[in-house]
């Protein structure tokens, strides 16, 4: 007998992920027949705001596009402006930027592990990983003055040089985080329950992944080796050695494995950065931020954020304000269109589990 269909509204308050959006689910029993994503609860008009702000004033705005990982936003905006302007960035600043971006990736993966585990009721994991993430935030606080919003990478380099002895403290934190991995493995990655829940769930078929616009760990978890850091290296990624892990299960489990391996890659990248970072200037100063005009032009730049390829399209008409800043973040694709496709056939209990595996981030969807 066919079960009767009902409609469930998941959200809009933190629907198993952090941030506000809503998923309207048509279910038969506890199987999803149709999923409709609804966003619009968080729109802050950042892109539009920037058209009314000077270039420098835009930096404290873009970082707020993504709470867990603001830094790719800062880096993208900075690099887009530098590309339009032809502004040189000191080598040291590029290394510092990579350090920041990779620390941010570690912090974000810490949050993801917590979210992924929390969405299946494994609440010890978030206690650990969010606590451990705080050690990274301590580093951010020391480097930038802020724990969450860094406002640190900006056009021409970075805002302040590294404090005395900073790299030693980074290395110490990296050692600590690395030593924690066996604990994480025991609790999450080797956990039979997690494997059972994650395998075969939230399938993104390999032959559809590109067509659907999937990026980042979900793409690599569908067996496709794509990573902006390797494919179109920026800053100093071409001077660093690391691998791009893939896994071809196409499911939540594969995506988890990819992130777990990338965590180690990031630790290694930061260690290399510290070893190779040259001395010298950290900031090629921009002119007076109140009158600074960026010459007319446009640029599309992208980074590999923890959630995947993160792009900025920036247009200048030669004035003191951006003409247009368009943000193309991964969450828009993952959290809106992709989710609608892959939720079909899933279990209600797996909705937030799947959302977490995609790195869905409503603040970034809406900008």
């Amino acid at each position: 007998m066919r079960e009767k269909e009902t409609t469930i509204y998941l959200g809009p308050q933190h629907p198993g992920i952090t941030g506000n959006m809503m998923v309207k689910l048509k279910v038969a029993g506890d199987t999803i027949v149709k999923a409709e994503t609804h966003v619009g609860y968080l729109h802050r008009a950042f892109e539009k705001l920037m058209e009314q702000r000077t270039w420098t004033q835009s930096f404290p705005i873009v970082c707020r596009i993504c709470v867990p990982e603001p830094d790719p936003n800062e880096e993208n905006l900075a690099r887009a402006i530098e590309e339009i302007e032809g502004r040189e960035v000191p080598e040291r600043a590029k290394y510092i930027r990579v350090m920041v971006l990779e620390l941010a990736r570690l912090a974000t993966y810490g949050l993801w592990m917590g979210g992924q585990s929390g969405s299946m009721g494994l609440y010890t994991m978030p206690q650990w990983t969010i606590g451990d993430r705080d050690y990274i935030l301590d580093l951010f606080e020391e480097l930038t003055g802020g724990r969450v919003y860094h406002m640190y990478i900006w056009a021409g380099g970075v805002r302040r040089d590294l404090p005395e002895g900073f790299t030693d403290r980074v290395l110490k934190t990296l050692d600590y985080l690395e030593n924690r991995l066996p604990d994480y493995d025991n609790l999450l990655f080797n956990n039979a329950l997690f494997q059972k829940r994650a395998q075969g769930v939230g399938i993104i078929p390999k032959d559809k992944a590109i067509e659907w616009g999937v990026v980042g760990p979900p793409l690599r978890g569908s067996g496709i080796k794509h990573d902006v850091r390797i494919d179109e290296p920026y800053e100093v990624y071409d001077k660093l050695n690391f691998i791009v892990p893939t896994s071809d299960g196409c499911d939540v489990w594969s995506r988890a494995l990819v992130r777990r391996q990338e965590y180690e890659q990031s630790i290694s990248i930061i260690r290399q950065v510290i070893e190779k970072m040259p001395k010298g200037d950290y900031y090629n100063k921009i002119p007076n931020p109140l009158t600074w005009q960026v010459p007319p032009g446009e640029a599309y730049v992208k980074t590999e954020s923890a959630r995947g390829e993160f792009g900025y399209y920036v247009v200048s008409d030669g004035s003191i304000k951006p003409r247009r800043v368009h943000v193309r973040g991964p969450a828009y694709v993952h959290g809106v269109s992709l989710l609608e496709k892959i939720l079909v056939g899933a279990n209600i209990a797996d909705v937030s589990f799947i959302m977490n595996s995609l790195g869905t981030c409503p603040p970034e969807i809406e900008r």
């Binding site: 702000r53 010890t124 606080e141 003055g145 009158t291």
Partner: protein, 598 residues
């Protein structure tokens, strides 16, 4: 599927964490120390802050407004306002900190603030948290300044090149340099407050930065018809208070004005660009004595307001001391002529070679005009009071400069001593260098006490002028033909003033010297010749220390008689004269229209 026993047991290893010490801080017993750069609540050093409002301008959250602090007095060069932060809007980006030109605004390590009263989240940093001073954290001094503290250098002729001719020393900014220099401005308008005529400085600088020189020129003419002159020789008090000057080199306000005005190279073009509104003739007539900066300014704006204005000028050229005093290497003749020609086109009538008191009396003038403005400047030099002063080879700087500017030959020989420490002394010395003489300036006090502009002093030294401070002239020694032969002077020591005033020079007994000279040039100050004013009027107006006392409308005690410029203004520079002239316009208009309504 095989039963994964390891996978089932592995998570239980988490239990061992229970025996480990916690990672968390025992709040509130224990508090976490914030990082040295932590971005917490603001602190503003109220004494250092100048109220420029740049912090408010940069704040992309509009979290800062500028308000008055009760009971807090400020000096000039300060808007009197202080920033207030709305902590409900602030995101602690600290752009305000990095942009603050004085460095007064910084963030502290404090971040906890609890109150039931939402209004109390509006803070006056430094007022509401004086203790913040001890808790400074994120500070601008640590990073690179956001603003640009270095001035775009001005091109000028080399000292050795300069003394060969009267060619203009400053070569001016080119377009690109002017745009760059203008772009350094933060637009705070503290300069506007201190400018005697309150020129719209940030506005014209902004126009230059945006590539609109014509708009800049038009704005300059709002209240200064001698912008080009000021762009070359102004004493630029504005630059002394420039916000950028607190930690860097002030914006080159004077040179930017010079740049904009010099892009307009003839009177017709000025007319086309300024295109001022001219009111229809109102039937009232005003007479002005002296076509110096104050007289010209008053005449120009009165003409625009519909008055019939005539200037009576004793000389054959207008401009006063900017024409006959300031040497051509600082202010070329064609520049003055262009500015005056434009004013004449706008209806200003100038009767040249007409000296009031000789060619026409004040009473006669009064028959034609309802109000009269006196702007005759200080033309009569003070005597040095030395033996031998009135003989051949002893000259007065203002006469000397006038003759040179009038293309007359003056014989000074090859060894000149100039006595004085003001701008006139420096001008006389630098002109003498251009005539080929060795030049020494004797000044009573120390170099740092010289009233002359430091740039002028440096310029003179670059050109090989020797400055001998703390030297007091005693006697001019003449040869058998009664021609100046030498100068006797004594060195002086500085005696501190017990009341804290500036130290006074005192001759050191026996430390006397004689230098051979071909000329001695006196430059110790000037006064005015008021002989043309009839006794009965002189008795009514008040003259103190050589200056006519006026009210804020430049009006004397005789209601139809106004006075402006050096004769009324102690500052005795072109821009103060222009400001006086500008104020006189309002005063005269008020006086005439009030009499009309009676």
């Amino acid at each position: 599927m095989a039963f994964d026993i390891k996978g089932v047991l592995a998570p239980f290893s988490a239990l061992k964490q229970g025996t480990k010490p916690p990672h968390t801080v025992r709040y509130p017993k224990e508090k976490k120390e914030t990082a040295a750069r932590y971005r917490g609540l603001h602190f503003n050093d109220l004494e250092e802050c100048i109220g420029c409002g740049t912090c408010a301008t940069i704040c992309q959250n509009a979290a800062i407004d500028m308000i008055h602090v009760d009971g807090f007095e400020t000096n000039s060069g300060d808007s009197g306002l202080r920033p207030r932060v709305d902590n409900g809007r602030c995101c602690w980006c600290a752009l305000c900190v990095d942009v603050c030109p004085t460095g007064s605004l910084n963030l502290t390590k404090d971040y906890v603030y609890v109150s039931e009263d939402p209004d109390s989240f509006l803070w006056m940093p430094g007022v509401d948290n004086p203790e913040g001073k001890e808790n400074l954290s994120f500070q601008s001094a640590e990073g690179k300044p956001l603003l640009e503290y270095e001035r775009i250098p001005m091109h000028e002729l080399e000292g050795t090149e300069r003394v060969k001719s009267f060619a203009e020393v400053l070569l001016g900014y080119n377009e690109e340099e002017a745009r760059k220099e203008a772009a350094r401005c933060v637009g705070c308008s503290i300069c506007t407050d201190i400018c005697p005529v309150h020129m719209h400085i940030p506005e014209y600088i902004n126009a230059i930065a945006n590539g609109d020189d014509e708009a800049a020129v038009k704005i300059i003419y709002d209240n200064n018809p001698l912008g080009e002159t000021c762009g070359k020789v102004c004493t630029r008090r504005c630059e002394t208070v420039c916000a950028i000057g607190h930690r860097g080199e002030p914006i080159a306000i004077r040179w930017l004005k010079g740049y904009a005005t010099s892009t307009v190279n003839n009177a017709d073009l000025i007319e086309k660009i300024v295109n001022p509104e001219i009111l229809p003739p109102n039937g009232h007539s005003v007479g002005i004595i002296g076509a110096g900066p104050s007289g010209l300014t008053a005449a120009y704006y009165l003409s625009l307001r519909g008055f019939n204005v005539t200037i009576y000028e004793s000389k054959s050229h207008a401009g006063g001391m900017i024409m006959y005093g300031i040497p051509k290497y600082r202010l070329p003749l064609d520049s003055i002529d262009k500015q005056v020609e434009y004013m004449e086109k706008m209806g200003v009538k100038i009767k040249y070679n007409t000296k009031v008191g000789k060619d026409i009396t004040l009473e006669e003038m009064k028959q034609h005009h309802e109000a009269i403005l006196i702007g005759i400047g200080f033309e009569v030099p003070y005597e040095l009071g030395l033996v031998g002063e009135n003989e051949e080879g002893s000259i007065q700087a203002v006469n000397f400069l006038r003759n040179i500017n009038s293309d007359r030959h003056v014989e000074i020989g090859d060894k000149v001593v100039v006595i004085g420490g003001g701008n006139v002394a420096i001008d006389a010395a630098r002109v003498s260098r251009r005539l080929g003489a060795d030049v020494t300036i004797l000044y009573r006090r120390r170099v740092e006490d010289m009233p002359a502009d430091w740039e002028e002093i440096e310029g003179a030294e670059d050109e090989g002028v020797h400055i001998h401070p703390q030297a007091i002239p005693l006697e001019i020694i003449l040869d058998e033909n009664k021609k100046v032969k030498a100068l006797k002077y004594a060195n002086a020591e500085m005696i501190p003033d017990p009341e804290g005033g500036r130290p006074r020079p005192k001759i050191i007994e026996g430390d006397e010297h004689i230098i051979e000279v071909t000329s001695v040039i006196g430059a110790i100050g000037q006064s005015a010749d008021y002989n043309f004013i009839p006794e009965d009027i002189k008795n009514q107006i008040e003259i103190k220390r050589g200056r006519i006392i006026v009210n804020e409308d430049q009006q004397t005690n005789v209601p139809w008689l106004f006075a402006s410029g050096d004769i009324a203004n102690r500052r005795a520079d072109a821009i103060s004269a222009i400001a006086d002239g500008y104020r006189a316009v309002k005063g005269i208009e008020k006086f005439i229209l009030k009499s009309e309504n009676k």
